[in-house]
């Protein structure tokens, strides 16, 4: 007796036209467009091509960080260390590249060739990612605590190297090139192009590769993922290294742009990266969310904050606006998914 003898196998099943995730991403995109149009009505000179471009280009750093943070959130883990890593890698790149004999402690570096300096700075950044992975995966400490700790460690090292301020003297000529390189004769700088490339690669990894899929499975059910042959420890380690490497590159580019290593750079960037991911519909419980959503979450935040500035609200409004935006995003998402899956 076989089963197929009892019930004729069906070969095709109806499919839902739109998955939950695509649905939420679509909501985020619509919200971003609606907010942009509303802001255009309220704020003079808002509806301009240059302004639209600025919304993206001004936020290249946070959006780039958001990619790593999004992948980690989807896997069910926080990364709040990225802001600290931005400071650390920037300061390291400056310190390594400063020539050896300076007038005082803050103008004396290790005198490495520039490309060796940034390579080493990147390694330093990834060491923080390794530390995150070690504590989260090996010791099983909650990621929120670990990455808050490593955020302080990274920034703390940057503060020690800069004595709590900054290093900006005695740098080689080529140090300022990368961060200020205009691409193809436009006003768009190299970091923005790199961010766009990063997004494209990230979307490809997320949607089209086994690595991307594994991230979702781990986030949805870590135990089942392990029992299904996914090496969770290795995967989470890669994700933390990936995230800290992005933060490292961001830090190096910012240091190059400003020709300085400043220990307070990237302050609160970890928070903004988390905010745009949440605005983009990434679920904190893991297993849900997308890089595209995060990108439009960043647009939402950018529209809201720049419209607020346009409406001559004081910059102090930004914290309140972020709080309200994230709150609304979470409530709306929960409500929309509950309604849809009723």
């Amino acid at each position: 007796m076989t089963i197929s003898a009892q019930i004729p196998p069906r070969t095709e099943f109806t499919r839902r036209r739109l998955g939950d995730e695509a649905f939420i991403t679509l909501l985020v995109v619509l919200a971003a467009v609606a907010l942009f149009l509303t802001a255009s009505l309220l704020v003079p000179n808002f509806f301009q091509l240059q302004n639209m471009i600025n919304l993206v280009t001004n936020n290249w750093a946070v959006i780039s960080l958001g990619v790593g943070v999004t992948f980690l959130l989807v896997s069910g883990n926080f990364d709040l260390s990225v802001g600290g890593v931005v400071a650390l890698s920037g300061v390291l790149s400056v310190w390594f590249a400063q020539s050896a004999g300076g007038a005082n402690a803050l103008s004396t570096g290790l005198g490495m060739p520039y490309f060796l300096a940034i390579a080493c700075a990147l390694l330093g950044a990834m060491a923080i990612g390794g530390l995150n992975a070690l504590f989260v995966v090996r010791f099983g400490v909650p990621s929120i605590i670990v990455t808050l700790g490593t955020m302080m460690v990274a920034r703390g090292i940057a503060q020690v190297i800069t004595h709590g301020s900054q290093r900006n003297t005695n740098l080689p000529e080529e140090f300022g090139v990368l961060g200020n390189l205009y691409m193809f004769g436009t006003s768009v700088k190299l970091p923005v192009v790199l961010m766009i490339l990063l997004i494209l690669i990230a979307v490809f990894i997320e949607k089209k590769t086994v690595f991307g899929r594994k991230t979702y499975w781990i986030g949805a059910n870590a135990v089942a993922a392990t029992l299904s042959g996914i090496d969770r420890a290795k995967h989470i380690t890669y994700l933390y290294l990936f995230s800290s490497a992005i933060a490292g590159v961001v830090g190096i580019l910012l240091a190059s742009e400003f020709k300085s290593g400043f220990s307070n750079r990237g302050m609160l960037m970890e928070f903004d990266a988390l905010v745009i991911a949440l605005l983009g519909g990434v679920a904190i419980a893991g297993g849900f969310g997308s890089v595209v959503g995060m990108f439009f979450g960043a647009i939402i935040l950018a529209v809201v904050t720049s419209a607020a500035t346009g409406l001559v609200l004081s910059p102090d409004w930004q914290f309140t606006l972020k709080a309200i935006a994230v709150f609304l995003a979470i409530v709306v998402q929960t409500w929309a998914l509950a309604r849809r899956n009723r």
């Binding site: 007796m1 076989t2 089963i3 197929s4 009892q6 019930i7 196998p9 069906r10 070969t11 095709e12 099943f13 109806t14 499919r15 839902r16 998955g19 089209k208 590769t209 086994v210 690595f211 991307g212 899929r213 594994k214 979702y216 499975w217 949805a220 059910n221 135990v223 089942a224 993922a225 392990t226 029992l227 299904s228 042959g229 996914i230 090496d231 297993g287 849900f288 899956n341």
Partner: protein, 503 residues
Amino acid sequence: MDREQQTPVLSVVGLTKDYPGVRAVDDVTFSIEAGSVHCLVGENGAGKSTLVKMLTGALQPTSGSMKVRGQPFFPANPQEARDGGIATLFQEMHVVDELTVMENLTLGMERSRFGFLVKSDLDDRVVRTLNAIEPSIDATARVSSLSVAQKQIVEIARAASSGASVIIMDEPTAALSEREVERLFGVIRRLRESDVTVIYISHKLDEIFQLGDAVTVLRDGRHIATAPLSEIADRSDLIRMMIGRNVFQTYEPRKTATGETVLEARSLANHLLDDVSFDIKRGEIVGFYGLVGAGKTEIARALFGADKASGSITFKGNPVGHSPRQAIEAGIALVPEERRTQGLFTNLSIRENIPVMNLRKLSDKGVYRSSEELAAANEYVGKLSIATDSIDKHTEKLSGGNQQKVVFAKCLFADADLLLLDEPTRGVDVGAKMEIYNIIKNMADTGKSVAVFSSELEEVLGICDRIFLLYSGALIEEMANGPEVDIAHILNVVTGGGEGAVQ
């Protein structure tokens, strides 16, 4: 003690519970005498747990009524049920490890003044109850320092001292050693003497004959019988009522010639296993039978590399047992014990669940081919006749049997040559159970090997060619299945009565 009470302590009349598309409990009527141990038996999915949930207020009946001591009883939540005199002992422990025994006993019943805890007669009463039930437990000890059995007794004491007239115990011996079971039975008998009624749910029929005064049998949500146990002739009588047929005859020796040995396990040992060695051959279905806690899950997980064990495991000549990943690559797949927490991605769709164990098949140099995922999902949903209207349905919305079929689909998609099935039909309805047995047999017929780890003897005797009997982490005996198997002998071995049993 007056045993001739007029009104039964608990009675249910026409109790029915409907779920969308399923009638889990269908017009059940019976009553329970005060001061008795009343057993509730039935196969998995017979409606026992739904019935219990209605009694404890976790679910509300669709229709029908319940009465406690003649008074209408409609608990809206567990708290109301407890106030009405019905307390429940769940399979999971519901004690707070961080508090003391005393604090646990009074939890939720404390006397207080302006929010401050005050001493009261309650404290003395719970200690008296505990001492009456089990004097060896120190009321001031932290619960985290107690054994599982002791924690359970703390729960019973709590139920008893809350003034419950009925205590429901759902598989209370699942995690206990034999000596602890004896002690628990002592506790239950003392409760009965103090006129507390115990509703005892267990799959272990011996316990029922040993302990029970009366039994209610459920099958497919319907009430089959309520009778004093003295009127039940023997186990097979009870089993016949439970399943409506004589199970032990379903095993048909399969004609597939078993081939060469594919898996060799030698001297497996860890904190739960004790020097376990065995072989599994190509094309055979082997069963590992033992009570809960005998080491079945531990062996399955050790073979799969999910837990560490010393000793050696070779599969087709290659060492395995290092990690699940290695096992899957070698051709071993596991259907884990806990479907929802270990087997399924409940927030993901059927389509997304199926491919996870064999990503190589769906990918090319790390690039994932979604079209093949879709094809695979369609294929397996059809093959295993998973009842769903869409392959994009979240697996949490499926019934237990269909969920389990999705887990099977995962393993089948992995193209494994050895399947480890840990409690493959737990929480699965009878129809799906038969289908799952057919899937298992078909796999073995196509030359794959299957190891079934089960605490249901009917299951093991029904499908396995060879059976390993386990007791307390040790493999006691190996036997071939067939019409002449001695069930009494098997039960004797797995309860610790076998020769050479490790004490």
